[in-house]
């Protein structure tokens, strides 16, 4: 695959020999996170370092226990992808006094390097793209704007969907309150199906519905709901993640306007060299962003060939 990420040109394989690197996952049950975790594991092991894994399952308290465990295990550095920015201080305090690389969610005060997406920006990119689509095709006219959310994801949810709303508004202007709906789809594909199905009913008569989704699963569910009601041509959506499950829709479904890609499958290539460098006391840039690329049918093959 082609890398959509900047090459940090950092450490080569083998440089991590003798090091212990701990990784706190946001929750491997989330497809996006699973891709991140897999790549981090791959890169850590390729570097010759020992890999310590702990899944925080979207729960800050579990992340705290992970940090404590890593302290016991004497890890030399931590890659932390934990749900709650505001609990980060306590988690930092509970963990060992070692360098920390934060993934997607800031982990102050112990974060030395931030790697990954800027959720808000990524959201804006998606929203903007949808706005542009509506501007180009419908002169920014729409009957409803639906934001598919997962409140249980906390800040990530606010940033991603909030950013998408901002992005859309930056093109098509403020969304009138009576056209806007925030829907809790639970972050899952079946949650998206049910809640969007009901929402569609509430939008009887609407024929141009803009949808932004926190992730691919909920947009998949939403499209399935539209399909079931024979209204798939009335729904236009963007999602975030570009998980493999969305590839087919991105390429073939004109209503699936596109996805902000985060390239989760390359996160390890960024995070692992950073943590190794930090452990070795080398200086590294404080922010290593993945490129946020808006993927649609036109540029799909460029990134995922």
């Amino acid at each position: 695959t082609t890398s959509g990420t900047g090459d940090t040109g950092g450490e080569a394989a083998g440089d991590g020999a003798g090091l212990k690197i701990g990784y706190i996952s946001l929750g491997d049950s989330i497809p996006f996170v699973k891709l991140v975790s897999d790549n981090i594991k791959l890169e850590v092991e390729a570097s010759g370092a020992e890999f310590f894994f702990c899944d925080s399952q979207l729960d800050a308290a579990k992340a705290l226990a992970c940090a404590q465990t890593f302290k016991t295990q004497g890890v030399d550095g931590i890659i932390n992808f934990q749900v709650d920015e505001k609990a980060a201080a306590s988690i930092c305090a509970a963990g060992p006094d070692v360098p920390v690389v934060a993934v997607d969610i800031h982990q102050l005060p112990c974060e030395k390097v931030f790697v990954g997406a800027d959720n808000k920006t990524a959201g804006q990119i998606a929203g903007e793209a949808l706005g542009n689509y509506f501007k180009d095709n419908f002169n920014c006219e729409y009957d409803a704007f639906v934001s598919m959310e997962q409140p249980a994801a906390g800040q990530v949810n606010l940033d991603r969907t909030g950013g998408a709303v901002d992005g859309f508004e930056s093109v098509c202007g403020a969304i009138p309150a009576d056209k806007k709906r925030s829907v809790d789809g639970g972050g899952t594909i079946d949650g998206g199906l049910t809640s969007f199905g009901d929402t569609l009913t509430a939008l009887t008569g609407a024929t141009r519905i803009a949808v932004v989704s926190l992730n691919d699963d909920m947009l998949l569910g939403s499209f399935a709901a539209a399909d079931a009601q024979g209204r798939s041509d009335q729904v236009y959506g963007v999602a975030q993640g570009a998980d493999p499950s969305s590839f087919d829709n991105i390429q073939n479904d004109p209503n699936w306007v596109g996805d902000t890609a985060y390239f989760p499958e390359h996160y390890g290539e960024l995070a692992v060299p950073s943590i190794i460098a930090l452990i070795k006391g080398e200086s590294v840039p404080a922010n290593v962003f993945t490129k946020h690329v808006f993927i649609n049918a036109d540029n799909f093959s460029e990134y995922y060939g």
């Binding site: 699973k34 925030s182 899952t188 199905g197 509430a202 399935a224 399909d227």
Partner: protein
């Protein structure tokens, strides 16, 4: 032995005569609650009462309803199956994974085998090993969620070409899931009312020891209940995956709680021996209507949680009120 779980702290209830009770059957009250909710929501949203929306409610409720039918049968016998949620997701994953390798027919066969295996393992653990049903199926819940994730590699698997089961509308514009839902409910109701097996489940729930001494094959019957639950999970899981065109190992999370809520709301007793399919059906529809109506009203999802909880309490409280009014307390 003289124990009841969710019962009358106040024994007076037990003394209430059957007759006056039957004057207003439990299910009538639930039907009234459902009606009240429907009227309320139709004043709040012009779309609530449209045929399409009512169909929506039924479609959304169908997976829960299909699984709640054998769930009622099990609860009536004093048993639980909490593995249905992750079970349905697992079935979907098996289907999508199998289909990707060997095509749809093989996928379906694998899904059926998986579902019966789930029922089998639950049944063996409960009846042969004698492990508490709650612990067994909670353990199974974790196991199936994990296995589903492993099989799917943590990703959502696409399942193209298997849309009919979830979406086709062969008769009068009614989608297949609703037809299956209706069929399962009717069949289970008949089984519970008119077969020796169904009656045995009531007897087992009412008094497992007496049931055994009356010659009922209690273990076989409970085993059968778990197998039926596994079968329903296959049907529910396939419908879900067909509706979605994709299988996620995270799907249907919390389904087990919805099922238990619907069954108990429908009047089944945790202590076994009481409960009807009609009650469960009403319970499922009340929960479905609540979700749908609150979404139609465009209520913030946080307040939706609050409203769902309050209305659930109100529905059951209303039923208690009926008991007081009709009982000679």
């Amino acid at each position: 032995m003289t124990v009841q779980l969710d019962t009358p702290i106040d024994p007076v209830e037990d003394r209430k005569p059957t007759r006056s009770r039957r004057r207003i059957p439990e299910t009538a009250v639930l039907a009234a609650v459902l009606l009240a909710l429907a009227i309320f929501f139709s004043t709040q949203s012009q779309f609530y009462l449209t045929p399409n929306n009512l169909l929506n409610i039924l479609v959304s409720a169908s997976v829960i309803g299909i699984i709640a039918a054998p769930g009622t049968l099990l609860l009536v016998a004093g048993q639980f199956d909490l593995s249905v949620g992750s079970g349905a997701a697992f079935i979907g994953v098996v289907m999508a994974w199998g289909t990707a390798q060997w095509g749809i027919p093989t996928g379906v066969v694998l899904a059926i085998v998986a579902g019966l295996l789930i029922g089998l393992v639950n049944g063996v653990a409960v009846t042969v090993l004698g492990i508490n049903a709650l612990i067994t199926t909670l353990a199974m819940l974790a196991i199936l969620r994990g296995l589903g994730q492993v099989l799917a590699g943590g990703q959502t698997l696409l399942l193209p070409g298997f849309n009919d089961l979830g979406n086709a509308r062969p008769f009068f514009n009614v989608p297949i899931p609703v037809l299956v839902f209706a069929a399962v409910v009717i069949i289970t109701a008949l089984v519970m009312k008119f077969t020796v097996f169904g009656r045995s489940m009531y007897a087992i729930g009412a008094n497992p020891i007496a049931a055994r001494l009356a010659g009922i094959r209690t273990k076989t019957a409970i085993f059968g209940g778990f197998l039926l639950s596994g079968a329903a999970v296959v049907i529910g899981g396939l419908i879900l995956v067909s509706q979605l065109g994709a299988a996620s190992p995270n799907a249907a999370s919390g389904l087990e709680l919805s099922v238990v809520t619907a069954v108990i709301l429908g009047g089944a007793s945790l202590a076994g021996g009481r409960g009807t399919i009609v009650g469960t059906l009403l319970g499922v529809l009340i929960l479905g209507t609540l979700n749908n109506g609150l979404t139609l009203m465009n209520i913030n999802s946080f307040w939706q949680d609050v409203a769902r909880g309050v209305l659930l309490l109100a529905a059951v409280g209303f039923d208690q009120l009926r008991l007081r009014l009709t009982g000679d307390k």
